[in-house]
C-alpha cells in the first residue's frame, strides 16, 4: 500500500483539511467536530475515518467518549511540513524589515 499517496489524498479534501486544523488545536469528540460543519454527522464520520486510516488522526478513549487527536508524527510523510512555519516567520520578519526601513527614513 502506498501510504504517502494516501496521506496526500486525505488532505486533498477541504473538509478533511478543516478537520485537521480543528483537531490540531484541541482533541475533540466526533460530535464536537461535526458541529463545525453543515454536512451530516455520517459524512463527517466518514472523513474522520479516512483521516484515522492514514494515521493523520489518532483515537483515544476517555471514559465513554472517543477523542480524536492530530497525529503530528505522521505529517513527516509530507516533506515540506515545516515550510509553512518557516514562511510564517519569514513573512513577519520581511514586514518588520520593511516597516523599520521606512521608520529609519522618516525619522527627522
Amino acid at each position: 500500500m502506498n501510504l504517502r499517496r494516501d496521506v496526500f489524498q486525505a488532505i486533498a479534501d477541504p473538509t478533511r483539511r478543516a478537520i485537521i486544523a480543528l483537531v490540531a488545536l484541541n482533541a475533540m469528540t466526533p460530535s464536537a467536530i461535526a458541529e463545525n460543519f453543515p454536512s451530516s454527522r455520517q459524512t463527517i464520520s466518514k472523513h474522520i475515518q479516512i483521516l484515522t486510516e492514514c494515521e493523520l488522526l489518532r483515537q483515544e478513549q476517555s471514559g465513554r467518549e472517543v477523542y480524536y487527536h492530530f497525529n503530528p508524527r505522521k505529517m513527516k510523510e509530507i516533506a515540506d511540513f515545516i515550510e509553512p512555519f518557516r514562511k510564517m516567520w519569514d513573512d513577519r520578519f520581511n514586514k518588520l524589515e520593511g516597516m523599520m526601513k521606512k521608520y529609519k527614513t522618516n525619522k527627522p
Binding site: I11, P14, T15, R17, A18, I20, A21, L22, A24, L25, N26, A27, F70, P72, R73, M75, I78, F81, I82, E83, P84, F85, R86, K87, M88, W89, D90, D91, R92, F93, N94, K95, L96, E97, M99, M100, K101, Y103, K104
Partner: protein, 161 residues
Amino acid sequence: MELKTKVHAEEGKQELWITREFDLPVELLFKAHEDPDIFEEWMSHEYGKTKIIKYDIKKHGSWQFDTVDAQGNVLFSANGVFHDVIPNKVIIRTFEMNDSSMPVQLEFLEFESLSEHTSKLSMHIVYRTLAQRDQMLKLPFAQGLSMAHDRLQKVLGKLKQ
C-alpha cells in the same frame, strides 16, 4: 533563492531555533519588538490582525494579545510574561495560547549587531515536550489548510447565492 529566515529543529529535541539577519541596525530591530504599536503591525497578516491588550515590556512584566479576523472574531489569543529584557540584547519571554491544551513555551530572543546597518535575531524556543514542539511546528501547516478551506467556502457560498 537564499532563505533569509532559517528554522533549525533537530530530530528528537524539544526545542528549535529561528534565525534571521536584517538590513537594520540592532536598535531598530529591537525597537520593532519593544514598541507595541510596531509589534502588532508586523505580527498581523492578511487573515488576522494582532491586537495588543497588554504589553508591559520590562523584567517581570506581562503581555497579552488577540488575533482577530476581518469580522472581528477572535481567531487566536495568547499571553505570557517577560522574564528579562535587556535593550538591544535580550528578551526572554514565555508564550501560551489561551483556550488550548498546549503548555506554555519559553523563548530566548538574542539581538546582535553585525555592522552599523545590519543585525541578527536568534530565537531559541523550548517546549515542554517533543510532541508539543512537533505540534507547534505543524500548526501553520494545519491553519494554512484551514484558510484555504475558508477561501473555498467563500467562493462556494457566492456560487450558491
